[in-house]
């Protein structure tokens, strides 16, 4: 026979006085400056990327040689038909900056998904099984960290030939280390908790325990690393494209636009300033969002 609990009315009162964890999380999230700013900026950029064909005033590939190197609309000699002016081939710069968000986001998200799958699998396996498995995977991570990423990525892209798909795969296969490191220690912590022991005692397979017990409870770590790695991948793609071995012209990659504008930087610095600022804002908003998620999901981890 169950022990008599408190009358229902009292339970309701207690619930009203102490907000649920979900409500607390929601409140902390909405009050966190970094999340609010980073999240809205990221949503804005995502909106720009998705709605680019409707928002961009011109076709980003349309060259009009009679309208080369126009100044921005607010300058003398500029025209509001090209609000940010045009580049050396007469292409509308605002449209190119807007379309550039598609490339950065596509590469950032895809590389993050690939590296996340590799890294999280390795990290969780190492953390869950421990022992020799852990040693082997830790060794793999150490080895990966010793490989100079930028250089190897440049060389491989040069050999394979650069395309969006190649850049994404190279970045995805090179950037999984942080996923592995973080998920390994998160799994190590979760593995010894009572609910995992209970699941083990109930005879669940390791795969099931990982998927239904460990993964949901380490999800916050996974999301934080995912944001960091996405930012990292975006910066690396920009660097590769800037060095001429990433995304190829005429695609409007922000890194490539900086490289193309570099020849004219002394006469028209805005050509490198604008894609650079766009990259900076995108990476900043992703980082702020990631840091914010870490703050609100694990308040005790705040440094």
């Amino acid at each position: 026979m169950p022990a008599p609990g408190p009358p229902p009315a009292l339970l309701l009162d207690a619930a009203a006085a102490a907000p649920t964890p979900a409500a607390l999380l929601r409140r902390r999230t909405l009050r966190h400056g970094g999340i609010v700013f980073g999240g809205s900026a990221l949503l804005l950029i995502l909106g720009l990327a998705l709605l680019a064909p409707w928002l961009a005033p011109h076709d980003p590939y349309d060259q009009e040689l009679s309208r080369r190197m126009l100044a921005a609309g607010w300058h003398a000699g500029g025209t509001w038909a090209h609000p940010l002016g045009t580049d050396n081939l007469g292409r509308d710069y605002l449209s190119r900056v807007i379309y550039g968000s598609r490339i950065s986001l596509l590469i950032g998200v895809s590389a993050m998904v690939i590296s996340g799958l590799i890294g999280a699998t390795l990290g969780i396996t190492a953390g869950y099984f421990g022992g020799r498995t852990d040693l082997a995977i830790t060794f793999l991570v150490t080895t990966r960290l010793s490989i100079p990423v930028v250089l190897v990525a440049l060389a491989v892209v040069a050999l394979v030939g650069s395309s969006l798909r190649v850049v994404i795969s190279v970045l995805g296969f090179l950037l999984w280390d942080r996923f592995a490191v973080v998920m390994r220690s998160a799994t190590q912590q979760a593995r010894v908790l009572d609910y995992v022991t209970a699941a083990q005692a109930a005879g669940c397979s390791p795969l099931r325990i990982v998927l239904s017990e460990i993964l949901p409870n380490t999800m916050n770590h996974l999301i934080v690393v995912a944001t960091l790695e996405m930012a990292q991948a975006i910066l690396l793609e920009a660097a590769l494209s800037f060095l001429g071995l990433g995304v190829q012209p005429p695609l409007p990659s922000w890194g490539l636009m900086v490289a193309e504008g570099k020849q004219f930087m002394f006469v028209k610095p805005s050509l490198i300033a604008m894609p650079g600022v766009a990259l900076f804002l995108l990476v900043l908003s992703i980082n702020l969002l990631g840091d914010g998620i870490r703050d609100v999901t694990a308040p005790e981890a705040r440094a």
């Binding site: 060794f139 010793s146 490989i147 040069a158 050999l159 660097a239 900086v258 300033a273």
Partner: protein, 305 residues
């Protein structure tokens, strides 16, 4: 300590060997080297002849073992472009990269440690926030773009510094700032956390109770202990910076091995690329080993592991 050192050295050697294998395989299997060297317009027969001449028609693992055998004896192959031993070409350029790395590290430490100490002394004030903002902003700026902005400011607008080249010390100022700036957040955060921890400890309270003046407590008693992890971070960061110098050296046309690597990739001079990848990886492994050993030397508790 001897046992610990032995274990670490062995692990480092193992990592170095694996990295050499991986990078060799990656560069040899990613694409057709002979085709890349001959160019896209070359006739199939010529490519085949080139392949045979360079020995690229033999199994990759055999080539790896031969290559490794030569590397162990100090022979890193011959550069197609310079027609000189790769070790000679690299040896000529390495000092520039090492100078850049050293200066960048110096810049990062000089900027980050005082900021980290200040942030720890006044946690959650505007100073702390300023330090945090600097690091958040720094991490979000693409390094090549930051370099170009430095060029526009110091090279073009103010005309203080030369823009490209590596002839004088002045040529190293902007590259060192650009490269070092990215390491500052890590140093700052580590100094701040270390200082916060140390400042809360009993011996600092005792020192305060004895009436020792605050600056002396901070720098003589606290920083000394807080800085232990920073020393090993410095070694690790230097390794990262040497690897990351490709971008910065290329922007400033600084004639170090990073710029050399980029030039060699665009010239399909793959023996040289291979050698540089290996050298950078070895430097990274070596610096990490140094970091581990320094840590153990400075903090005896770690030697047990």
């Amino acid at each position: 300590m001897l046992r610990y050192t032995g274990k670490r050295v062995l692990l480092a050697l193992l990592v170095a060997a694996t990295v050499s294998l991986l990078s060799f395989l990656l560069l040899n299997l990613a694409g057709d080297l002979a085709q890349a060297i001959a160019g896209p317009e070359a006739r199939a027969a010529d490519v085949q002849a080139l392949r045979r001449q360079l020995g690229l028609d033999r199994p990759v693992l055999i080539r790896y073992v031969e290559w490794l055998g030569r590397v162990v004896r100090g022979d890193f192959g011959e550069s197609y472009y310079f027609q000189l031993p790769a070790s000679e070409v690299i040896g000529e350029r390495l000092p520039v990269t090492m100078t850049l790395g050293g200066l960048a590290l110096g810049f990062a430490v000089v900027l980050a440690i005082p900021l980290g100490v200040l942030a720890a002394v006044r946690p959650n004030t505007w100073l702390d926030r300023l330090a945090l903002t600097l690091s958040v902003v720094g991490q979000a700026m693409p390094s090549f773009w930051f370099s170009l902005m430095l060029i526009l400011l110091f090279g073009v607008a103010l005309r203080w510094l030369p823009i490209t080249g590596s002839d004088t010390w002045a040529h190293f100022v902007m590259p060192a700032i650009a490269l070092g700036y990215y390491a500052t957040p890590a140093f700052m955060r580590l100094t701040r956390t270390g200082m916060l921890e140390v400042l809360a400890s009993d011996y600092i309270r005792t020192a305060r109770a004895k009436g020792i003046r605050t600056p002396r407590i901070l720098f003589k008693h606290a920083l000394r202990n807080a800085i232990i992890p920073v020393v090993s971070l410095a070694a690790v960061q230097l390794g990262f910076m040497l690897g990351g110098s490709v971008v910065i050296e290329t922007v400033f046309a600084l004639r170090g091995i990073g710029f050399l690597a980029w030039e060699s990739i665009t010239r399909s001079d793959f023996p040289l690329v291979q050698a540089i990848v290996l050298i950078l990886a070895l430097l990274y492994v070596g610096l990490n080993l140094l970091a581990d050993l320094l840590n153990a030397l400075l903090d005896p508790r770690l030697r047990v592991g």
